[in-house]
Amino acid sequence: MTTRSIGHSVQRREDPRLVTGNGRYLDDLGRDALAAAFVRSPHAHATITGIDITDAWEVDGVEAIYTFEDLDELMARPLPVLIPHPALTHPRTCLALADTEVNHVGEPVVMVVARDRYVAEDAAARIVVSYETKPVVVGVAAAREAALAVHDDVPDNVAAHLIQEVGDVDAALACSPHRLTIPLTIERSACMPMEGKGVYAVWDRDDASMRMWSSTQTSTGVRAAVAARLGIPLARIQCMAPDVGGGFGVKINHPWPEELLVPWAARALGRPVKWAEDRREHFVSSAHERQQLQEVEVGFDDDGRILALDVKVWHDNGAYTPYGIIVPIITATQLLGPYKPGTYRCEFWSLYTNTVIVTPYRGAGRPQGVFAMERTMDAIAAFLGKDRTEVRSTNFILPQDMPYDHGLMFQDGRPLKYDSGDFPASLAKLKALVGWDDFAAYREQAEAEGRKVGLGIGCYVEGTGVGPYEGGHVHVETSGQVFVATGLTSQGQGHETAFAQIVADELGVRFEDVHVTTGDTRRMPYAVGTFASRAAVMSGNAVAAAAKVVREKALRIAADALEANPDDLEIEDGVISVKGAPDTQISLSTVAVLSNPLRYAFDDAAKAATQFAGTFDPDKPPVAEGDEPGLEGKGFYSPTQATFANGMHAAIVETDPVTAEIRILRYCVVHDCGVMINPLIVEGQVHGGVAQGVGGALYERMAYDESGQLLNASFMDFLVPYASEVPFIETDHLETPSPLNPLGIKGAGEAGTIPVSAVLASAIEDAEGFPILSMPISPSELWELRRQRASAAAHSATTEGDR
């Protein structure tokens, strides 16, 4: 008997091609394509006064040079506001190529198409764009101050302002026994997938159709956007995501200017055109995230129970808002984590700055929200002199409170209602894993050795698997091989493996016989995309639904063939047999043959489906009314709301007493994403997420100068952690199934990243003995904080002495 595949650490189907150099990423396609390069704004805010392309045409091999003037009416429109929201009162998006104004360094101004990228870059270097520079707004503090405007017609740089409140926060604050105010800062970071964005388009003149490939997190989204701007019917354009070298959020925004311009140029020139983003372009013309200023006011009782939580957030959305205000909405709602404050209000302002746009980056506003909440928990514990886990426990939503409705609207426009989770159990596991109760002794021993160590903690809840839907298509070919398609894309999550596991179980076939395609609009034109930790939940349940349809059809056909009752049949390893009479059997491949009545026998097996084979009832039509030929089926999954995963992390850090260097000694994770399809993959997601969190907490930041130049736009200066900076991650799991979907699964993609800044701030604070209110934190910043504390202490001692 075949064992179930779900729940097992099955090795990945993707690996054999990827470890041998046979993966096919965007730039690996189209060797014969023309190459595009872009002239981008060197100024953060300027008026374009002229563009001189004359010299560029002198370069041998240049095929086309395009400016805004060359764009037709559809292409000349501002890019779409993908997620409109009533609170987004002043949305602004860029043009495919800038017309009169640029609003950040890196904005595309001129497109050059040439024989190869070397030539395109040579020509781009000869193009002279004249600018009149304008005053620049850099950083969220300057945006809030609003002395200068990013967009002349946007008052106070405010793109959006939103307040959500549950209960009477002011009244609850007024009668709280204790109150604290905590100001917090988080800086910019970015997804930084190892492969940048890229687009390759082939226009077929004879067929008047487009095939395009994009390194995207949504091929259906790109297809629809390009169809709209190029005026092509959907039937005449297909978009594929090939192997994608990481996404982490940045590739869900679409259409990027290049995603429109490359296919547009391919059609105009009648030649394949390709653009592969280089690393500097990725830094200055894709997207960043994370920067916020926050102010938390909290009222609580003697037990540390939060009676009132009042949070203000000033969110930097960069120069444009194509992705709307999803990030600050997530901050405002997911800030609550596993806790139930008596009353809650969050007010945010989403503000324009003359810097790269802000769209979701793994965690998508949650790291900031969790930072606010967890810093608050630690502050309450410090104020009351209580253990930090005790204060958290006091505020936990309990299993018996589930489902728990916070009374807020989540990022999908639906209620923020937790479906399941056992937070006390998770905390108990975490305390055991890290040895929470033994830490005091460890610290004492370390102190005796002259070492400073600290223990930190952070908890989060993550809404995963947001709608609207995903679909699956399952087709059993006459070979018995099963081909599965789902429309969302893959950027390394192992979908080919995980979805094959699901279909193998649901259909009753061997895992090896299931082959999954993702992100190809030719195979599944209805899809949303891979973001918000949604792929396993959405497409997992969709392919399961499709497999069920196919299974039922297979049993029906087999029942006819075996003259049995479908209810008496079972499928195992691709063979359908009568329960208890295994010799009465028919293979799924034969059923596939029978499912498609044939006129012509294309091979021996196909003979069984032809008209004189005697396999059909002559009194019935070959394809019954309401039925379809072929052993295939479709299924869609569309949930009423998100499913909420959760986790708790703890870390032990050591800070150097002299240099203030910060070293992570241990990092522990307890993670609950419901039923795990493949624990190997889930753990991998957690490891990678934590590493990105470590980068964001200790190393990565976008260093803009006062004129809006990004000073560290390369991997030389933007410090993505190497193997030498990330420790082994210790993990433990809880599997609290989601009651919302048939498979009981919750998302896992972003989890690892979410609480890391909060956890490391907590640990560093614990080591140092003073509050850490700003992340990321470098050794020099920690050293400076120490110096300020020492100097303030010396000053107060002097003042005392003077009295």
Partner: protein, 165 residues
């Protein structure tokens, strides 16, 4: 244009290249060996790592003309008819890759680490891979895969260099 003759993955090639052509672009565009990828252009990420005469180099930091008369091994030259290279096998077995973009360079560098340290400590592995970025795995399973490969016979060997010998 300059004429170069180079052995890549055991086969000899002669091509005219522009003096400014980077090795990685020669491999990808002239030879069609797109298994070696570009991640950063500044020699920091190591995605383009190949072996030049048996030692790892970042092929975005080497000119094609510099490899004239030399021998290059890429990720595409590791597996043999007998199967995957032990390092490739170990990466698969230990889930040491997700998106796979850093993997060709990471595997080439990992083999180089074992050439230097046949029985490496965790620290030697981590320091040896410092220069190759991975954004997906947190290095957790990469470090484990390299340590496990060190125990496998032939993990430091590269088959195609034998062909060239």
């Amino acid at each position: 244009m300059t004429r170069i003759t180079v052995t890549v993955d055991g086969a000899k090639y002669s091509d005219d290249v522009e003096p400014r052509t980077l090795l990685v672009h020669y491999l990808r565009e002239t030879l069609g060996k797109v298994g070696t990828v570009v991640g950063c252009d500044t020699s920091n990420c190591g995605a383009c790592t190949v072996h030049l005469d048996g030692r790892s180099v970042k092929s975005c930091n080497v000119l094609a003309v510099q490899v004239d008369g030399h021998e290059v091994t890429t990720i595409e030259g590791l597996a043999t008819e007998a199967g995957l290279h032990p390092m490739q096998e170990s990466f698969h077995e230990h889930h040491a890759l997700q998106c796979g973009y850093c993997t060709p360079g990471m595997i080439m560098q990992a083999i180089d680490v074992l050439n230097t340290h046949p029985d490496p400590t965790e620290e030697q592995i981590r320091l040896g891979l410092e220069g190759n970025l991975c954004r997906c795995t947190g290095y957790h399973n990469i470090v484990k895969a390299v340590a496990a490969a060190a125990k496998a016979p032939g993990a430091a060997a590269v088959s195609s260099s034998k062909v060239g010998d």
